[in-house]
Amino acid sequence: MQEGRILPPEQINKDLLNSIMSTPKWYWPAVGICSFIVLIAATVVAYMINKGLGITGLNRPVMWGFFITNFVFWIGISHAGVMLSAILRLAKAEWRRPASRAAEVLTIFSLMTAMTMPIIHTGRPWRSLYWFFPYDFARGIFPNIRSPLVWDPSAILTYLTSSVLFVFIALIPDFAILRDNTTGLKKIIYTKLAMGWQGNARQWKLQIVAGILLSALILPVFVSVHSIVSWDFGMAVSVKAWHSTVFAPYFVVGAVHSGVSAVIFVLILLRQAYGWHDYIRREHVEALCRLLIVVSTGWFYYFVMEIIFGIYGREADEVAIRTLQFTIYPWNYIMIIFIVTTYFLPIFLWSRKVWRRNLLIVSIACISVNIGMWLERYILFIPGQINKQVFTFTWANYTPSLFEGIIVLGTFALVTLLLLLFSKVMPLIPLYDIKEGDILKTEVQIGRRTVPATFRED
């Protein structure tokens, strides 16, 4: 794009491998803090397994609370990877280049974190094995493959596998550069990972074809994952606020919204932390914010559909849940905060170009989106369960416990820790992608003006 300067390949190698070759002063304290929080959360999980789920706020009728909200949240964050890496690669958007690796890696780590949530939520995690093996051959009790809860693990594992493959294929040229710039044990490891990469024409062609094929093939997986997660709720006829046909696209668009916002925030942090001002430029952030304006408006459309049709049916029990969500404390406040933070505040902050190029304002908008999207899942899942049964004596509120809060906080620390550890061993911005972008840059003369231009790759 037009703001950057074309740097020599040696400079690009030096700058982008900086995170691996040297360690900034803030690095180990950051790792230490994240590790500490993760350790606390792991201790709380162990305590919960020992004492039982009773120490959480979960009880009849609200059986799905913080853990499932957090599960869906992290699945949502994982959708940034395919959006930025695969879809923008197929659309040949030049401004995807610095964002693609960070997005793909965030996808993998958020998927891994999300998968821990239902396992913790079982209360007795070892029983999760019964998903894969029938319980007691003599009784012939098999996992119910007609349930979306069984579709979930297959979809998520498929997405995780394909994302790992996607990241690995893209990393091979960078492993080769690391192989050539390190010594000792590191060199041995990077040599293995580089798999004999020499950078000849045939290898580059295969690498590009593999990237394009994977981009196309991962798209249906990307759509299916969050759709299947949404059907965990959408198929449930017993919870009135959940049985809605729009859940699948609503969840997918919401996932892209929260995921891309998270990636933008991560990119801004990386730019500041590692001094990558020449690589993560304001024009990239601005382009991503413009994308998010469209995505968030699409999300808002689906959200309005979901709310309107909740009331449209004129079914007393569903109208009661909507009344709870919009008028009864504390749900009414949560609803207001959610709508403002998810849509209106970010849209306002992204509405002017000068604000889209202000990294502090964009960071506030992106954090706001993720707060709002976490609250969205919370307000979607809990109220419907509160009034699930017909008998009013079964109605009860859900009050999350401190233990659940610590575990949720632990997941944020876990993803941050994994990103930090990744940045120490692998580059977070793809070197060859940046170099390719520089090669494709050119200029054309239009009248008296020299205008930036780009070669179209194919």
Partner: protein
């Protein structure tokens, strides 16, 4: 035009680079449409048949009961679905600065004139729509007001608000057309004569092409486009619910308006690509329309076809899974039983055949691939509208205040007047579009000239590649 030599694997005319001579002759060429007399007569005859069908239906059944008008509603919805989003296609691709949109923007914008037809066709439907309040005593299984998005029945609902919304669409889209074609009309004044010259002077005589005028024009198109982008899904939501979903008791489907909106974009793009192909193949515009618009738009059309099946599956599986009687009855009525074969034709046209055509890269790169898929898309959309709206109009007037549908009605075949109205509405839309092509310059002259400045072939290592300027 300079001979294009390329070493890569594209067709020779994937990108076209009109030279100065071509561009100088474009205003004259774009304002003289050539032989369209036969097409005009055909569409006129179809329109007359449509009027006959309408008059015969009205005299036989009147306008107070909506049930006999299912095919009229299907025809209106089909034309609305295809033509209303077309101006938005132009604005959207202009906003994202895709160079390949340049030859097709005017073709898309002229569909705005058909929006006026849509509004006129909509008026009888407003007279037919049943009351929101239940006129009978509330029975055990009845609602006091039928299911509708006008939940509290505010003043003017639904007639005033829906009519106002329907009126606003052609108003905005015609303004977009007018603004976008002003520079072209101004450039073409010296090449036209008679009433057209007077019209061009009236509409575009003030245009001087100053920097300020250009900036204001583009800002106005952007603002109107944004407003249109917000209004259109709302109107599509009104049409799909008030005239469709709410006439089948118990059909509560939050994804249906989204499917309707999605199909609007799909069918609009299909129609635009078909017209673009006709211009390239037989209109003599091959020096201005390369294969690249078809290549780029075909990917979008493929994506929209896949999105169709995704949304339909999301609806189907949510309804099917819970085995609730009302949802099973709706599935039986609209998909599995009564309208099964129409649904199959719908699925073939809207998804399977376009997918089968467009999944092949060589077909996407060819100029005929996307228009061929577009023909099937339009057919599929017609089947969708017949299934949905004829189904809704014939589900039984007596059940619209019930909580759920209990009897699955049979499908209704069209009679001769239905067929006349169906072809008549489509013919009228075609007639108005052809008249629009005769009035306005058919190519977006200023955008094509701009594109000629921004695109060229350049050499990179051992290959020739397209170079795209990015002045923004």
């Amino acid at each position: 035009m300079a001979e294009l030599k390329t070493l890569n694997h594209h067709y020779k005319d994937m990108w076209v680079f009109p030279d100065a001579e071509d561009l100088a002759g474009l205003p004259a060429k774009a304002t003289s449409l050539g032989k369209t007399r036969l097409l005009l007569w055909v569409t006129l005859i179809l329109t007359v048949l449509g009027v006959v069908g309408f008059v015969m239906r009205a005299s036989a059944d009147g306008l107070s009961n909506y049930e006999p008008w299912g095919y009229y509603m299907a025809a209106f919805s089909f034309v609305f679905m295809v033509t209303a989003p077309a101006p938005l296609v132009s604005v959207a691709f202009r906003l994202i600065r895709s160079h390949w949109r340049r030859p097709l923007t005017r073709i898309a914008e002229i569909f705005a004139l058909v929006g006026i037809v849509n509004f006129v066709l909509y008026i009888p439907l407003m007279l037919m729509i049943p009351e929101i309040a239940n006129p009978n005593e509330i029975g055990h299984h009845s609602l006091d007001i039928r299911r509708t998005l006008w939940i509290q029945v505010p003043w003017g609902a639904p007639h005033f608000w829906e009519t106002a919304a329907m009126f606003s669409l052609p108003l905005m889209s015609c303004l977009i057309l007018l603004l976008s074609s002003t520079p072209d009309m101004s450039a073409s004044i010296q090449y036209v004569t008679g009433a057209k010259k007077k019209l061009y002077i009236f509409l575009a005589g003030y245009w001087k092409g100053s920097k300020r005028q250009w900036l204001v024009m583009q800002a106005a198109i952007g603002a109107l486009g944004g407003l249109y982008f917000l209004t259109l899904p709302f109107v599509q939501f009104l049409i799909s619910t008030d005239l469709g979903m709410s006439l089948i008791a118990g059909w509560k489907d939050s994804i249906f308006p989204a499917i309707y909106t999605l199909m609007g974009f799909q069918t609009s793009l299909a129609a635009i690509l078909i017209v673009l192909y006709v211009f390239r193949k037989w209109g003599g515009y091959e020096r201005f329309i390369g294969a690249s618009p078809f290549w780029s738009a075909s990917k979008i059309l493929l994506g929209l076809s896949l999105l169709w099946i995704y949304h339909m599956f999301a609806f189907f599986i949510t309804f099917w899974y819970g085995r609730m009687e009302v949802e099973q009855n709706i599935l039986n009525y609209l998909f599995v039983d009564s309208w099964f074969w129409i649904f199959i034709l719908n699925a073939l046209g809207s998804w399977l055949i376009p997918f089968g055509i467009l999944v092949w890269n060589p077909v996407r790169r060819a100029d005929w691939g996307a228009p061929l898929a577009g023909v099937f898309v339009l057919f599929g959309a017609l089947m969708f509208n017949v299934r949905t709206f004829v189904g809704a109009f014939n589900a039984g007037r007596e059940q619209i205040y019930d909580i759920s549908i209990t009897v699955v009605p049979p499908a209704v075949a069209p009679d001769i007047w239905d067929l006349f109205m169906l072809i008549g509405v489509i013919g009228l839309a075609g007639l108005v579009y052809l008249i629009g092509l005769k009035i306005f310059p058919v190519m977006n002259i200023w955008e094509i000239k701009e594109g000629a400045m921004y695109q060229k072939m350049g050499r990179l290592f051992r290959g020739n590649y397209l170079v795209l300027a990015k002045p923004e």
